[in-house]
């Protein structure tokens, strides 16, 4: 029994380290900040801030898992939000009543996001474009669409029945937070328990091996980028319902933060490794740090310094721990095999 637990811990070592760091940080912050961190108000505001960023982070996680970075996630979310806002404010499809407009806005935003995701996937699958550079192009293109539509100005005045979705609560917990947890659990089950999920790991780990193991690489790439598009679309809708407006440039800082969350969450940028639970844990850790910075009144520049440093620092730590693990494996092998001399 003990051995079983030990092997389980060994296998998920990084995840458990991350969970303990998060809990330790939570306890540490309780001593340092006390009530200003754990007041009901701050906890609730954290629960409101987590989802929009969380969805972008989950989308980025999927792109990491297949060994590419999707730069267009934030632009996709943003432009989908602008589409929805244009319908909700009656600029597009005027004459719809409010409830129909909301349905149309959600459908158009999600449709656009799926289409954007599909286009990314199509470029990667059918044209063999490197994901990083393909999504750099579509990132400029998608935000260019939003820019051309709005001229860089904000679309404001969304109907209150739509924005109430962003502030709705379920037993005191924000509805959007519940949705985020649900989606994260579903994604985790897909990744760990379903064929599609296993195929994502195989495809991400070694594409050439996947191709010759009867995995349809092209279909995989398109499917994953469509899922990324869906997650980005949800994030876009949450952002506009929370901010009560849509504007090009909302959430641009999420690009760095979502990369950071994936790296902290143990998703290897070369693909094929990582768990959704790690990313969710890292999102919570980031939100706690972010709240602490707000309480300490750090300038945006100081935040940039800390996020940038953390990204490099965590990658350095991962590198060292990986090298150590490899050395232990090599030593074990040496002990088991008799020496030739």
């Amino acid at each position: 029994m003990k051995e079983k637990i030990m092997t389980l811990i060994q296998r998920e070592r990084n995840l458990y380290i991350l969970i303990s760091v998060t809990i330790l940080t939570a306890i540490l912050f309780a001593f340092i900040f006390g009530n200003s961190m754990y007041s009901a108000r701050n906890l609730q505001s954290m629960a409101y801030q987590i989802p929009e960023f969380g969805f972008i982070a989950l989308a980025m996680m999927l792109s990491f898992m297949i060994g590419g970075i999707d730069l267009s996630v934030v632009a996709n979310a943003n432009t989908a939000g602008i589409f929805a806002a244009l319908i909700l404010t009656g600029v597009w499809l005027p004459g719809l009543n409010e409830s129909n407009a909301i349905i149309a806005a959600v459908l158009v935003a999600m449709g656009a996001s799926i289409l954007f995701g599909f286009f990314n996937g199509w470029m990667v699958a059918k044209l063999s474009a490197p994901p990083l550079i393909a999504t750099l192009g579509t990132m400029i293109l998608y935000s260019g669409i939003g820019m051309a539509l709005t001229g860089g100005k904000g679309v404001t005045g969304l109907p209150s029945s739509f924005t109430s979705f962003g502030t709705a609560e379920l037993w005191g917990v924000p509805l959007i937070f519940v949705i985020f947890v649900l989606v994260a659990v579903i994604l985790s089950v897909i990744l760990n328990r379903m064929t599609f999920g296993r195929k994502i790991y195989l495809y991400g780990g070694n594409r050439i091996a996947a191709r010759f193991s009867a995995i349809n690489n092209e279909r995989m790439a398109i499917a994953i980028f469509v899922v990324i598009g869906i997650l980005a679309g949800i994030a876009g809708l949450i952002i506009i319902s929370r901010v009560n407006s849509a504007k090009v440039g909302y959430g641009d800082a999420y690009l760095l933060q979502s990369l950071l969350v994936c790296v902290i969450g143990g998703i290897h940028p070369d693909g094929g490794r990582g768990r959704a639970a790690g990313v969710v844990c890292a999102v919570i850790l980031m939100q706690m740090l972010s709240s602490a910075f707000t309480i300490l009144q750090f300038s945006p520049y100081a935040r940039k310094l800390i996020w940038g440093f953390m990204l490099i620092f965590v990658m350095g730590l991962n590198y060292l721990s990986e090298r150590r693990a490899q050395k232990i494996r090599v030593d074990l092998l040496r002990k088991r095999t008799p020496q030739a001399d």
């Binding site: 044209l127 393909a134 800390i306 940038g308």
Partner: protein, 334 residues
């Protein structure tokens, strides 16, 4: 001996696009045709071309750098800050300080990329924010306007090589065209006539074969990232001379457009292939669109849409060509 053609197919297409676009704009709006537009584009694209040359070297080596604008800001801001606080009014001082800072920061990138063996994009995104944060937190985050900028800098920014009389008044070609030209020659010489330059291309094509032919990847990376750092420092000084002010938050964020220009110019992100002429043409197209869409009656908010479309088409065409070629030879890269 293999003869390298100076102008290849893809560059010819870029030139054709530029010529066609110019004809269309000139037909719609004859005001486009004149020295003002030409000098304006050369002036605004000169800084971008300088860093794009450095980016070409890094991308040829199989890496990428998104921190160069942060480095440019760090170097030039620090140089200007020192000049203002210690009352040093000398242009060479600004260039030397900015270039040295650029080389040091660039080499930090190189060490991290070489050591961590992770995608250079993520590493340099981290250092981009880190460098910018260090500068604004530990040096200063104030803005210095036209009044306090050292005179030698602002004089350099507004100086011209020669002047032409036009209907709009006297127009001059900016002096920054000289460093651009010199750096193009230097980059060409390094890439095609020195051993380290060939090493850069070799490393980008295949790290394993570069090591086996005796190149040290660390040395090559130190050179490539140090080179873009040095160019970024030079570019930063020219930039503050041109705008005649020092801001703590400009430049950073513009790096993606430079990468877009390099990719439109045919530089491959996988390394080993890319040309100086292509990169210069790619940057020129971007600045041509930025500066002249207004002549077509489109506001500047359309820039990104056009550049994005151009970039997507260019990526699509080049990757599809490579795919067809690879499939024909039964090479599977994915």
């Amino acid at each position: 001996m293999i003869r390298h053609k100076i102008v290849t197919g893809s560059e010819l297409i870029l030139i054709l696009i530029i010529v066609l676009y110019c004809i269309i704009v000139a037909v719609v709006n004859p005001a486009f045709w004149g020295f003002e537009t030409l000098f304006d584009i050369i002036r605004s694209s000169s800084t971008a071309i300088i860093v794009a040359l450095g980016l070409l070297v890094v991308m040829l080596s199989g890496g990428i750098d998104v921190s160069f604008m942060s480095i440019a800001l760090f170097g030039s801001y620090t140089a200007a800050y020192m000049m203002i606080t210690y009352k040093i009014d000398s242009l060479p001082f600004a260039f030397v300080v900015a270039t040295l800072i650029g080389i040091i920061l660039g080499m930090i990138n190189a060490l991290l990329v070489n050591w961590l063996k992770l995608p250079a994009f993520i590493i340099t995104l981290g250092t981009q924010n880190f460098f910018h944060g260090v500068m604004t937190t530990f040096i200063s985050d104030k803005t210095y306007g036209a009044g306090v900028i050292p005179e030698s800098l602002s004089r350099f920014g507004s100086s011209t090589i020669f002047k032409v009389n036009t209907e709009m008044g006297v127009m001059g070609l900016t002096t920054s065209a000289i460093p651009v030209f010199l750096l193009i020659c230097l980059t060409w010489f390094i890439l095609y006539r020195t051993s380290i330059g060939r090493g850069v291309v070799a490393l980008g094509n295949s790290e394993e074969s570069a090591i086996r032919s005796g190149f040290d990847p660390l040395k090559i990376r130190l050179f490539a990232y140090g080179y873009i750092g040095a160019l970024a420092g030079i570019m930063g000084v020219i930039y503050i001379a041109q705008v005649n002010a020092v801001y703590p938050n400009k430049l950073v964020g513009d790096e993606l457009m430079i990468i877009a220009g390099a990719v439109i110019g045919g530089t491959k992100i996988t390394g080993g292939s890319g040309k100086i002429l292509g990169v210069v043409l790619g940057i020129l197209i971007i600045y041509l669109l930025n500066n002249t869409l207004i002549f077509l009656g489109l506001s500047s908010s359309w820039n990104k849409l056009f550049i994005g479309t151009l970039l997507v088409i260019s990526v699509a065409v080049t990757s599809f060509q490579a795919r067809v070629k690879n499939r024909k030879n039964l090479i599977f890269t994915e």
